[in-house]
Structures are given as C-alpha cells and as structure tokens.
C-alpha cells in the first residue's frame, strides 16, 4: 500500500497554536506518510515542527469563510490547533490525517522506517531476555528451571518462548496446565524474593466452568511451588476480581481456584478496575483536567467522580498486600484476574518495585517493564490504540499501563531518593506506549513481534533512552540506593494527582522545571566539589 494514495493535499499555509504557554507558529503545513510537518517561512528559524501522525488521538475540523481549523488531540494529552488557509485544503488535510493516523498495519508503521543517527538496529534488544532473569533466580534457588515448552508459542500465544517454572514440573505437565488456564497462561515465576525464599507467580484464571473441573497437573504445579519454597510455606492466591465476579466467571468457563483442590493456598479477593470502566475513568479525568474555567467545587467533584485516584489506591494496596505476604509472612503469592494480562501485571510489577532494590535502578526498571509487561504479553497495541480523546466507543482500550506508571510515580513521590529514574522516564514510557518511533511497544505479544520481525527491523526504545543525551531528562539526580522495601502510604491524604502527566500541557511548566534544573545543579556541584577534594588534599600533602 502506498501512503501517497491517502494524502489528498500535500501542503498548505497554516498557523499552529500549541496552547496558552507556547507562541504560535506560522508556516507551510505538509502531510507525509508518517508525519505532519510545519516548516516556518524562509525568514524564520529553520526549525521544523514535527508530529508523528500515529500520536493523533482525535481530529476535529471546522471551516468558516475561506479558512479552516483543525483541532488535533494527541495521545500524550496535548491539544493542538491548526488554522489553515483554504477550505478545500483544510478538509483534505483533515481526511489525510484521519486516514494515516489510524492505519492498522504494524509493518507499515513508522518504527519500521525510523533510522536515527547513532543507533544500530538490533541494539539493546538482547538486554532483557527471560534467560537473563533466570540466571539471577538460579543463583538464588535451585527449585526453578527455564522451560522452552512454549518455543513455538503453542502452549500460550501470549507468553514468551521461555518461561520460569518449578523444576519438579515437566513440560508435558505444563502443556496440560496450559489447557486448564485461560489463554494458556499457566502459573509462571514472576519474581523470586531471596531474603524470604518466597516467590511471586502470575497466571490467568483456571477454567473451572460450571462443572467445577479440576486439573491434577495445575494442582501439582502449585504444590510444587510450596514444596520448593521454605519449609512449611503457605500460599496466597490474590484474585484481582471480587469474589462474586470470580464466581460468576464460572458461567463462561472461567472461575477461581477451589479451596479443597489447592491445600496450603488461601484465596484473597482484591477487586481492581480494568477494561472499559478504567478507560472511562481516564477519559473523565482528562476531560476535567482540560477545563481551566471550572469552579473549585466542580473540579473537586469531578476528581472524586472520575475515581482515578481510587484505582491508584486499590492497585497500590493490592501490590502492598502481595509484597507483605512474601516479606512479612513468608508466603508464596499467585496473582491473577481473568486473562492475567492487565491488573495482574500491575500487581506483580509493583510488588517487585516495592521489594526489589535492583528493579529501582534505570536498567532494572527497564528490565522490569520489558519482562513484566512487554514479554508477559500485555496487549499494548489493543490497550493503547486510543488514549483519552477518541470519540470511538472503546473496544479493547484501557490505560492499565498508565495506572502502573501512576502508581510508580506515587511511590517515587513518597520515596524521592530511592528510584534511579525520575518523572521524565515515566512520562517517556507513557508517550512511547501510545505512539512511538521505536518498536518496543508494538504488537500484543512476543509471538506477534516475532512474526513482524520487530526486533530486527525496528529500533528499541531502550537503546533510544539509554543514549547519554537523554539521561538528564530521565534520571533522578537524588538517587541513593535503598536496600529496604518501600512501603508506601496508601491513605488518600498521601496520594496526589499526577500533575506532571495530567496537567502537562495546561499549566506553565517553567517554575518547577527551573527548580528541577537547580536540583541538578546542586547535585553536580556536589559531585564536582567532592571530586576535586582529593586533588586538594594531594596538593596539601606536597606542602
């Protein structure tokens, strides 16, 4: 398919309004296969304004007289307005943007064409394979093995080729367990907590169904988990649905583990919002954040009504519960909801951030996102197809990953010294998950990424982010490694709206950005003065 078929007008004269804080930009507007460009006239600076078409979430056009206005609402929550000369040009450009921004095909998307200077294809992909995490686990315990039973994705299409399972369970048993779990997502190791010798597992719901089916291999697997842990260890199954929803799921073939079938395991229900209600909560919050004129009462009632912070609180408390079960009570934890690809991952990844100091470094956090979200089969393409502005009725969209990022941000606020990455990193992950020139967040699973050859034909976000020039934006200058668990307060008084994300484009950023610069300056001064100290004492010795 040629993009040129979709481009109706090559260019037009236009003025771009980027919100109250940035000055308007005039010049020639140009639509290409993947971008919207605005090049200022010859007299102005040669700076080109560039927007990835993929990042357009919704488009609105209006014509009056002989000009038109296009309002672009972007997936990163920016709102842009283009005033274009010519009615025809406006309509054509709007149609072109509409067509090009909603292309479904992965292999014609921009990451397959993006060839930035200084990066080599294939870099950094090998940074975070499951094998690497397994090596760490193997150093800590002998009870687990790396299984390649899913080599051809036949056991579970949404799992990676290699997964970590109890040593006592062979691949044949895994195949049978996979048939007993929705989407084949049998319980696998998510995290081994060495100090307490307990593990965090994740899976999807068991296919109990109305007939109350059982699966001996599944039961044996969970028995093996307890046997491989500390002597006498117990287990908790954290079901991210309410007891009632879990029970109702039996009518459609799902369900939750029966107590009698899994001795030693106790089930806890911690309902987390997911799917459409979560997406609606996001939409309502963003709507409220775009209204600068509203009264205080209206704002506060919308903030309460959208329930976003309530979801943050629930997600954090459930992660704390899982982490507490491991660290304080020495129990093994299995987390699942229904499909095991959404709220399950929020809980397992947050629990690791709470317990595991190495996941709080720059590299460790990237590994965590890669392992617990991308390779764990969170369907990014479906969930992030649209952000908060789309008028289309959401089908599979849900800001699950954003909820995770928000929880991480809250953790970072309460422990401002303990995460090596800063808010900039979380904002970058949000932006790139929804629209990116990099291939990292493409597709819904490893299997799809293999089919599209994403690894060999696109650049990895991690190599993009790990370039030296990006570091200042992404790092937390105050980071000091903290060997302890981070137990956040989940009281509503301790949680804050993530203004840096939700109000990123509506509030003037200068004062806080300048303050951040000052923090960097103090920290670098500190490094400088400390660095120069030895030379001074050396000169003193010479005296």
């Amino acid at each position: 398919m040629e993009f040129s078929e979709l481009i109706r007008t090559g260019q037009a004269q236009a003025e771009l309004l980027r919100g109250p804080e940035a000055p308007p930009l005039r010049g020639t507007l140009c639509v290409t296969g993947h971008h919207l460009l605005l090049s200022p006239g010859p007299q102005a600076t040669p700076d080109l304004w560039l927007l990835l078409l993929r990042s357009v979430d919704s488009i609105e056009k209006r014509v009056a007289g002989d000009c038109g206005t296009i309002t672009l609402r972007c997936k990163d929550l920016r709102v842009l307005q283009l005033d274009i000369e010519g009615v025809e040009a406006t309509l054509n450009i709007a149609r072109s943007i509409e067509a090009l921004s909603s292309l479904e095909s992965v292999i014609t998307s921009f990451p397959f064409f993006y060839r930035p200077k200084g990066l080599r294809l294939g870099d950094a992909w090998h940074f975070h394979p499951p094998e690497r995490y397994y090596k760490r686990v193997a150093r800590e315990t002998n009870a687990w093995r790396l299984s390649e039973a899913n080599e051809d994705f036949s056991l579970c299409p949404s799992y990676p080729r290699a997964v970590i399972v109890p040593r006592a369970v062979n691949d044949d048993a895994l195949a049978l367990t996979a048939r007993f779990r929705q989407g084949g997502r049998f319980p696998v190791l998510s995290y081994h907590h060495a100090p307490s010798r307990t593990v965090l597992l994740r899976s999807s719901q068991p296919l109990i169904g109305p007939q109350k089916r059982r699966c001996a291999e599944d039961e044996a697997l969970l028995r093996a988990v307890l046997a491989g842990s500390r002597p006498g260890a117990r287990g908790f199954i954290v079901d991210t649905r309410s007891a009632q929803t879990a029970k109702q799921a039996r009518m459609t073939g799902g369900g939750t583990e029966a107590k009698a079938a899994y001795p030693g395991w106790k089930r806890l229900h911690r309902p987390l919002e997911r799917g459409r209600p979560l997406q609606e909560s996001f939409v309502h919050l963003v709507e409220a954040c775009g209204d600068l004129e509203q009264s205080m009462d209206h704002w506060l009632s919308r903030l309460a009504g959208c329930r976003w912070l309530a979801h943050v609180k629930e997600a954090l408390s459930t992660a704390c519960l899982a982490a507490q079960g491991m660290e304080r009570e020495g129990a093994c934890i299995l987390v699942h909801g229904a499909e095991g690809t959404d709220s399950t991952l929020v809980v397992t990844s947050l629990a690791q951030l709470i317990l595991d100091p190495s996941s709080r470094t720059m590299a460790g956090f990237q590994e965590l996102v890669e392992r617990e979200w991308i390779q764990a089969g969170h369907p990014f393409q479906l969930r992030c197809a649209h952000s908060a502005f789309s008028h289309a009725r959401p089908k599979h969209e849900a800001p699950t990953f954003l909820l995770f990022l928000d929880c991480v941000w809250q953790l970072g606020r309460q422990f401002p010294l303990s995460l090596e990455f800063g808010e900039g990193m979380l904002l970058a992950l949000f932006d790139h998950a929804y629209a990116s020139p990099f291939g990292t967040f493409l597709c819904n699973s490893e299997q799809e990424r293999c089919l599209c050859e994403v690894r060999t034909r696109t650049h990895s976000l991690w190599s993009g982010l790990n370039q030296l020039k990006e570091q200042r934006k992404l790092r937390n200058p105050l980071y000091v490694p903290n060997p302890l668990a981070l137990w956040p307060s989940v009281e509503p008084q301790s949680l804050r709206l993530w203004q840096g994300l939700f109000l990123r484009w509506t509030r003037p950023p200068e004062p806080s950005e300048a303050a951040w610069e000052k923090v960097w300056q103090i920290v670098t001064d500190q490094e400088k003065t400390e660095g120069s100290q030895p030379t001074v004492s050396a000169s003193e010795l010479q005296l």
Binding site: M296, D297, S418, P511
Partner: protein, 540 residues
C-alpha cells in the same frame, strides 16, 4: 499548680489514629504546669503544650481502660488509653482547667524564661522595626507622610500609633473620616510600591447605610488617588461577598457608593467571613481525620467543606491587588467589615506578590508584624488564647499561611524560607510562649507590658535560620520579581503537611528538602575548604 491533682500515670497507651494495625505505644504520662508529657518505652518524648489543647474528650470506658482524646490547635490529635478511670478523670479535669486561661498574665509567655538578660530581650524586640520598613518602601516622601493623629490611640484604638497617610490629608479630614468608618479604622497606607508610585491602603467599611455620606472620607480617598501621580483613579476592593455587604447597609454600615467618590472603581471579591471559615476548616478536619477514608470521601469532603474554594478566593483577591498595581500603576484601598481579618490577608498577600523582600525570612517577619500584628488582627481572640467567646475563634491566619504555602508550591524558587518556617510560625501563634501574638492590638500589648515581661519569637527563629531555608531559592531571578500565580482550581491541594503534620505515617518517607539543603551546605563548606587550601598552597 492548683489544678493538677495527678502528676504521673503509668501504663498509659498512645494510639496512632491512622495506623491500620491498631498499634499502641505504652508509656508514662506526666502533667506539668505547662505541658502534658508522654514518655513511651523507647524513651521517646511527646510534649503537648497546654495552650495548644483545643479540646479534651473522655470517651466511654473500654475493657483496656478509659480513652482520652485530645485535639490540638496545631492539628495534633492524640488518643490515650488510661488504665484507671479515676486517673483519666483527674487528668481530664486538670487539662480542662489548664488549657483555658482566664487572664493574659497566666499565659506561658509570662513565665517562659529562655535565659536571656534584659538587654538581649530588648534587642530581640527591636529586631523588627516598622519605621525602618516604611523607609525601605520609600515613605515618607513628597506624597505620603507619617501622621501623629493616633498618637494616644484616640482616633482608633485598634490601629498602631504610627500611621502613614497622604500628605495633603489634614488632621480634620482624618478625624472626620475615622468617624465614618467602622471602629474608627480610616484609610491608611499598608504598602507603597516605589517604582509605580502606587499604594495599597486599608480601612474598615464605611458607615454609609443606605445613603449617608461623609465629605472628609470622600476627601481622604481623593487624597489617596492624588498621592499617586501615575494614575488618577483608584480601586476600592471590598473583600466581602456582595450580599453580606448589602446586608450591612441595614445596620448603618455598608460600602462606598461610586457616585459619591470621584474616580474610584469599586469591586467585590467575595471572601466569606470568619464564621464560614471556622466551620469550613472544622468540616475539613473532620473528614481528613476519619480512619479508613476512601479517595472519594476525601475529595467530596474537600469539596463540601469549601476550604480550598475559600483559599482560592483569598489568593484571587491578592492577585487583583497586585495586577492593579503592576499593570495599571493604580492605588488600591482594601476593606472588609472591620478591616482586620480578610483585609489583613489580602493586603499582606498582595504585598508578598509585589515585593520579593517579603519572601525572605526576615521580610516575612516584617510582613506579619506590619499587616497582622500592628494593624490589629485579633490574634488572642482568633486563636482562643483565653477562655472567651468561641464565635470569635477563626483560622484566618492559618488560611493566610496556607495561601503562602500554595505560592511556595507554585514558585519553588521564589521564597527564601521553606514549609517548616510556616509550620513553626503557626505553632507559635497558638503556643503563647512568646509575646508577639498575645493580645488583639498594639494598645492592648502596651498595657500588658509585653516587651518587658515576655520575649519576641523572631530572634529565636533567626537563630535556627538554617532549618528554615529553601535550598532552591534564587534571590536574583528576575522572573520572580512580581509573582503572578495561576489561581485555576487544580492548582489548589490539600495541605497535608499542615493538617496532618503529626500523623507521620501519612508523610513521604524521605525528604528531598533536607537532602538538597545538606548538599548545598556541604558544597559551600567544600568550596570554602578548597579556597582555604588553595590560598595556603600559594602562600607556602
């Protein structure tokens, strides 16, 4: 000491009101003449000043003992369980007596002795000199002069002696105007903006009723306009809601009629009165003090309490003031009803936006001395220092501090001081440990001989200055010369570090501020070391 029946109770439990596990610390409770002291088994001490106690409540007897709940004015809430009911009853009765004093002389400040001699004490009181401050602003000058009309507090009991008025306003005009203003509080200078030659003035409401006029008052306002060569009109800002101001007309009070005053632009800014503010904060504290609060409950409680809406209104009024001065070079006259609550808030915040000096540690002390203490904000009544009318108590000054906090959040580099400074000042408006906030006006303070019998707070704060410094402060930054805060609703947040300052489990576990402050200190220290060593090296 006659109120203390039991001085020591052992095996008392202290509950944490937000801990989910119902953990309790066991320890010993002591009652002294000035404090309630709890020492837990880790030997950690919790001191509660009797003056800080807002209410004491004895709850129904439980199996583990008799619960005693103490709410403090600094927003500390402690929940003790006393094993024996009789001890609990004794402590309860003692605290009821000790927390409410009948006369000023019984307040802590009159017995507090920080081991300073008389000249040190006097120097402490002279630290903040308002005459010096008016000089700094640039008055007296060709348009403004010091008036001695209130030398003996004859014209207005609640004003200070030294008042600055337009040079062309004669004494009869001042006297005439004061008779036409509630409590005699006629228009006087609060802040002078030297480069714009514009003034912020303050007064109380006029006794205009439905139609009354006063030529002297009209003259005085005209004199204020004329004292500003840059602009011939002036703004009159009534900080009350229009409806309240109109209702006052029936009682012979009210607001200025634009037709009677030449060249005034009159406007209401709609800040509610002390009673609304009192119940608003009460409601907010009830909500935020609930155990197991949900996110929805907190935000609907924030909304229904109206507290943030009020804070927004106060800050919004200050923005109106600052804008008139900076963009139009216009003078502004501010009043409410009596001109000592909302007027103090708005004038002081307006000055804070306009003048970077007030954003320094020392400048902020001056600001409080000027617009709050000297102009007669009734600290003793508003803070309930003595056992008096509970309807006079209102968190007007707390609200002012909260507005300042919101500004520090929006402009993290514009203030020399940090949040701890605001909290410490708040602590002492209620502590009655220092003389500054005792009494309701200057006249009363003189009669109480506070400068001879008590100490001033400011030198003690300055001694601890390092603790109150903002490491990010950029004193030279031009963009912070005048602050233009954005008062859009989502810029207002619940001030957890004030209203939950003692509920440590709700706070961030690590403080960025301390670490940056330490680094800053170390940097300076190391730089000095380097210089020292370098100079030594060259000298050798």
């Amino acid at each position: 000491m006659e109120h203390i029946r039991t001085t020591k109770v052992e095996q008392v439990k202290l509950l944490d009101r937000f801990s989910s596990s119902n953990k309790a610390l066991t320890g010993t409770l002591y009652l002294t003449a000035t404090h309630l002291l709890f020492i837990d088994f880790h030997q950690k001490e919790t001191w509660i000043l009797h003056h800080h106690i807002a209410s004491v409540e004895k709850l129904a007897l439980t199996t583990s003992g008799c619960p005693l709940v103490i709410q403090c004015k600094n927003f500390r809430t402690v929940h003790f369980i006393v094993p024996r009911e009789r001890d609990c009853h004794d402590i309860y009765n003692s605290l009821l007596q000790l927390s409410k004093q009948a006369k000023y002389e019984d307040l802590y400040a009159f017995s507090y002795n920080p081991k300073q001699n008389d000249s040190e004490r006097l120097r402490g009181w002279q630290l903040i000199d308002l005459a010096e401050e008016y000089q700094r602003m640039g008055v007296p000058n060709s348009n403004w002069q010091l008036s001695d009309a209130n030398r003996d507090y004859k014209i207005c009991e609640t004003y200070p002696k030294e008042l600055y008025v337009p040079r062309i306003a004669s004494k009869p005009i001042i006297v005439g105007s004061s008779k036409f203003r509630s409590k005699g509080r006629f228009p006087v200078l609060s802040y002078y903006h030297q480069s714009k030659e514009a003034a912020i003035c303050r007064c109380s409401q006029p006794l205009s009723g439905f139609s009354a006029r006063c030529l002297e008052d009209e003259h005085l306002l005209q004199a204020i306009s004329k004292a500003n060569p840059a602009n011939h009109y002036m703004y009159v800002v009534d900080t009350r809601p229009r409806l309240n101001a109109m209702a006052n007309r029936a009682a012979g009070k009210g607001y200025e009629n634009e037709d009677n005053y030449s060249n005034i632009r009159f406007q209401f800014v709609g800040i509610e009165n002390i009673h609304v503010m009192r119940s608003s904060l009460q409601r907010l504290l009830e909500v935020s003090g609930t155990r197991g609060l949900s996110v929805g409950d907190l935000y609907s409680g924030l909304q229904s309490s109206g507290w943030l809406r009020h804070v927004q209104a106060v800050l919004g009024a200050a923005v109106v003031l600052a804008k008139a001065v900076t963009t139009e070079s216009a003078s502004v006259l501010v009043h409410c009803s009596d001109g000592w609550d909302r007027t103090s808030q708005v004038c002081s915040l307006g000055s804070l936006l306009l003048d970077p000096y007030y954003r320094t540690v020392r400048g902020f002390m001056v600001l409080i001395e000027k617009d709050w203490i000297s102009f007669g904000h009734k600290f003793s009544e508003r803070c309930g220092h003595l056992d008096g009318d509970p309807k006079e108590v209102s968190p007007v000054f707390t609200q002012f501090l909260e507005c300042v906090w919101h500004l520090t959040e929006q402009f993290p580099q514009a203030f020399e001081f940090n949040e701890a400074f605001l909290l410490q000042i708040h602590e002492h408006i209620h502590s009655c440990q220092f003389g500054n906030f005792i009494g309701n006006c200057q006249k009363e303070r003189e009669e109480l001989k506070l400068k001879e019998k008590t100490y001033s707070l400011w030198p003690f704060l300055l001694e601890d200055r390092v603790k109150y410094l903002n490491p990010l402060y950029q004193p030279q930054a031009q963009e912070f010369a005048v602050l233009e805060p954005n008062t859009v609703s989502f810029n207002f947040k619940f001030w957890r570090n004030m209203y939950h300052q003692f509920d440590r489990t709700l706070h961030p576990r690590q403080s960025v501020f301390n670490i940056i402050a330490n680094m800053n200190e170390q940097n300076k220290q190391l730089e000095n070391d380097i210089k020292d060593l370098e100079s030594k090296a060259t000298n050798e």
